[in-house]
Amino acid sequence: MGLDRRSFISLVAGGVAGSLFTPVIWKTLDDVSIWTQNWPWIPRLQYGEELTFPALCKLGSDAYGVKVKTVGGRPVTAEGNPDHPLSLGGICPLGAASVHLLYSPSRVKNPKLKDGSSFKDITWAEAEELLAGKIREAGSNVAMISGDETGSVTDVLSGLVGKAGSDKSFFMPGESAPAAAALAMLGGDGQVGYDIENANYVLLLGADALGSWGNVARNGKAFSASREKGVKFVYVGPAQNGTSAVADSWVPCNTGTEPVLALGIAAVIAGTSRDRSSWPGFASFAKFVQTAYPLDKVAEITGVKAAVITGLAQELVRAGRPLVLTAAEAGQGLGAFELAAGMSLNMLLQRVNAVGGVRILPWAPKVVEAAADRKTMFANDLVAYLSSVADGGAEAPALLMVYGANPAYALPNLTKAQAAMDKAGFVVSFSSFMDETAAMADLIMPDSYAFERLDDAYSPYGSGQPNYTVVAPVIKPVFDTRPAGDVLLVVAAKAELDLGFESFEDVVKAKAEALGADFDEMVEGAAWVSEEFPAQDLALWTTPLQELAVAAKDGKSLALAPVQRLKIGSAKIAIPPFNTNAIRFDEMLGNDMYVLLNAATAKNLGLKKDDAVKIASSGGECKARVRIFEGVMNDTVVAPLGLGHTAWDAFSRDKGDNVYKLLAADTEAESGLSRFATVRVTVSKA
C-alpha cells in the first residue's frame, strides 16, 4: 500500500470534517481502521463460567485472605475477601497483582541442579533423592531459613532440621521477634497484636500502617471506618509516606528515634499527678524515664519540639482508648528495647489486653513435635548467625534450606549474609521464583505458587485477635512444581527422619484441630477467629532499664530512612509485571531509583534535583538520583527497599539499587537481637 500511516491520518483528518454527514464514510473508515491497526497477534478472549475461590496472599510481610476470580477454570484477578478478618474486602498492591505471578517470567518451572555457572533440569525423584542424601550426609550440621512466620510449612522444615539434631531454625528479620522479646522484658509471653479497630486515638510511631506495615489491608479498612467515627491518627516518622498523607497530622521525628520519643512521652505522663504507685514496676520506671529522658534531651535526639511531646502526652491521656503502635519505617530493624519502649507507653496508659489497645495473642499450637516453636525461632537471630558464619565465628552449615525467603537479597549485613551462604556446603531453595537465593542455590525444588497449593496462616504479626486461615489450591500447578510442605515430608521419609506426618494436609488438619477449628469448613472459606487472650502479669520493665542506643550525629553523615512500598515488591517478591506502571516518574528515572532529601539537606551537600549520587554506609554502597522532597527531616535520606534485583526478570532486574546493602546491623546487648533501624550514611555526587 502506497499510503503510510502518517499521511493517511492527515488525509482523514483533513477530509473528514466535510464528509461526516454522509453515511458512506463510516463503512470505509471502519475498514480502513483495520489496516491502520496493524498488529501481529491478537489475544483471543476466552469465556467460561465465573467463580471465586478463597485464597491466601503472603507476598508482603502479612498473610491475608483474598478471593481469586476464575473464568472457565483460569484464575484471572484477585480481590479482597470481605469474609476474611485480615482483608475485610481490602487488598494491597501485591495482592492485586498476585494472579499474574502464576505466569511470571521468573517462575521456576521444574527442579534444577546447579551445573557450573548455570542449572540443569532434573526430575523430582532425582531432586528428592539428592536432598535426602544431603540430609543424611550433613547430620546435625543443617540450618533452615523461612520467610513465612504464619504457615505450617515452616514447622515441617524446622521439624526436619530439629529431627536431624540441629537448632538452627531461623526466620527472616521482621518485627515479630523484637516484639516478642519486648513483651518478655515486661514479663509477658505471647504474640503482640494491635486492636486498631476499637482504638479512638492511634499514635503511629514509625509504623507505615497504611502503606506497608503489619496487616495493611485490614489496617486500611480500620482506618477508613474510623474516619467516620472521628478517630485521630497521628503519624510520627522521619518522612512523609502513604500513612502520613491521610493521617490527621505528621510529626517529623529522626529516623529510628521514635522509641526515644515514646520514653519521652512516658516521662511526661509519669510526671502527671495521677497516682500509679501501686503499679508493678512503676516507681523505678518513672524514675528512669524522668532522669534519662527529660524533655529537652528527647527533643534534641528526636528532633520533635518539647511542646509537641507534651501535646502528644496530653492527647494520649485524654483520649480514652488510645493505642500506640511502634515500628520501624521499613517494618524491621528495631531492637527489643525499642519496641518495649512503645509497649511501656501502652502499659502506662493501661492499654494492654484492653479493647482498642495492645492485645497479647497465644502462640500457634505446635503440631510437628521436632520443630522449634515460634518463640524459640524468634529468639534465633539470623543476621547474627550468618555474620558469624561469614566471619568464621560459627561453623558454616553443610546444608542450608531456604523456604519462602530471599536471604541473598533481603538481609541487613548483606555482603556477610551472601558470604555465609557461599560458605554453606549445599544450599537448597524452595522458591516459586528465580530470586537471588534460588539463583545462587545448588538445588532448586520449586514450590507451587500460592494459588496452587494447600496453605495456612496463623495470626500474622499485628493481628488484633487470634485467627487461622486454611486455603485449598485454586488450580493445579501450571508447571512441574510441588508444594514444599509435601516435598519436605517425602524427603524426610527418604532420609529416615520421621516427622509424624505423611502429608502436609495432615499437618494442617492437626493444627486446625489443636486450635479447635473446623478444617473442612475452613477450606471452604470460613476463617477461624478467637477472642481468647492469655492473661498477662506485666510489670513496667522487668529487665534492667537502659538507655536506648542512638546512632550519634557527626555532622557529616545523614540518617538513612529505608522505606517499603508494597507496589514495588517486598522482601519476598520483586516488582510484579503489572506493578511497574504504579511507579511514578519521580520515583524512578530510566533504571535509576530516587532517594529523597529536603532542599536544605541537598543544599548542604551541594546536590540538585536528579543528581546521580553514591550512598555509602559501613555495610556497602548504593547508587541513586536525588529527588528534592520537602516531606523529609533535615539530614535524612529516604531510600526505598525492594529495588535493585539481580535475578528475577525484565520487570525488576537492574531497576534501582538494593538498599539492603546499606543496612549495617549491630547487636542489642540484652536481647542478643540484631538492630539496623538507625544507620548513618554519606551521600556524595557519583
Partner: protein
C-alpha cells in the same frame, strides 16, 4: 455543544483524605481491563495507565510540607473535549449512565482526543500488547485487547455496568434503578482504604451524590466547563485549590 442529559449519571468520588497512593487501584485496573504489563513503565512517555496516581504537594518547605495522592481515571466529562475533536466519531457520550465510550475498531490513532483531553486521561497504544509467555492466560473476558495504534482510556469498567444491567433484568428489576453496590468499578472495589466511592450521581440515595454536593467536593479544572463525572473530596483547602490548576502542580505523568 449542549450536553446530553441522562436519567442515570454514574459518578466516582475519590476521597483524597483517604487515598494513600498505594497503587492497588492502578494494578486492579490493568488486571481487569487487560492492559499489558510494561517493563519500563516508570518512564511515562509511552505508557498506558488508565488509572494514574499523582502526588500533590502544598509546595511548602519542610516541616510545613504536605502531600496528597490523586488517582486519575477518565473523568467521563459531561461536555467531553475528546469526542468533539474525534474525526471518526470513535468516542462518544451517548449511553444511559453518561460514560464516554471509546470504540477501538473505529479509532484511527490520530490522537486528537489526547491533545484535547485536559486530564491526560487518554493513552495511545505505542506497542503491541505483549504478555510474557503464558501470562495471556490471565486475560479477563471483559475487555478485548487493544491493538497498537489506537487510543484507549478508562471506561468506568463499562462491562461491569452491562453485567449489572443484565443481572437486574434477569431479576426482573429496573436496570435504570441499579442499587449502589450492583455496579462498582474494579478500582473502587479494590481500594483498601475505601477512598473511591461510586454510584449514580442522580440518585439521592447513593453516597456519591451526597458527597459530591459537599462543600469539600470539587472537580478538576472545573473552570473549563467539561463537567466531569469524577469528583474529588478533601477537607484540606490547598488540595481543593489545586483542583483547578493541577497540571502546574502535579508531580507525575508527563506523558504525551
Amino acid at each position: 455543544m449542549q450536553a446530553k442529559e441522562f436519567k442515570v449519571k454514574w459518578g466516582m468520588l475519590v476521597d483524597l483524605d483517604k487515598c494513600t497512593g498505594c497503587g492497588a487501584c492502578t494494578v486492579a485496573c490493568r488486571a481487569e481491563n487487560n492492559l499489558p504489563p510494561e517493563a519500563d513503565a516508570a518512564n511515562k512517555l509511552r505508557t498506558n495507565d488508565w488509572m494514574n496516581i499523582y502526588e500533590l504537594s502544598n509546595e511548602k518547605p519542610f516541616p510545613d510540607h504536605e502531600v496528597a495522592y490523586l488517582p486519575r481515571p477518565c473523568m467521563q466529562c459531561g461536555h467531553p473535549s475528546c469526542s468533539t475533536v474525534c474525526p471518526v466519531v470513535a468516542t462518544l457520550k451517548d449511553e444511559e449512565g453518561g460514560i464516554v465510550s471509546q470504540v477501538y475498531p473505529r479509532c484511527i490513532g490520530c490522537r486528537y482526543c489526547m491533545a484535547a483531553c485536559p486530564y491526560h486521561a487518554r493513552y495511545f497504544n505505542w506497542f503491541d500488547p505483549i504478555w510474557p509467555e503464558g501470562m495471556e492466560k490471565v486475560l479477563t473476558p471483559y475487555a478485548s485487547a487493544r491493538p497498537r495504534g489506537v487510543v484507549e482510556k478508562c471506561t468506568f469498567c463499562h462491562h461491569r455496568f452491562m453485567a449489572a444491567k443484565e443481572q437486574a433484568r434477569m431479576n426482573g428489576e429496573d436496570p435504570t434503578e441499579l442499587a449502589e453496590d450492583a455496579y462498582i468499578p474494579a478500582c473502587a472495589e479494590i481500594c483498601p482504604t475505601g477512598a473511591i466511592k461510586f454510584g449514580n450521581l442522580k440518585n439521592p440515595e447513593h453516597e456519591v451524590s451526597k458527597l459530591a454536593a459537599s462543600k469539600y467536593a470539587f472537580r478538576l479544572l472545573e473552570k473549563l466547563g467539561t463537567d466531569p463525572q469524577v469528583y474529588y473530596y478533601s477537607k484540606r483547602e490547598w488540595v481543593r485549590k489545586l483542583g483547578d490548576n493541577y497540571l502546574k502542580n502535579a508531580k507525575g505523568g508527563e506523558h504525551v
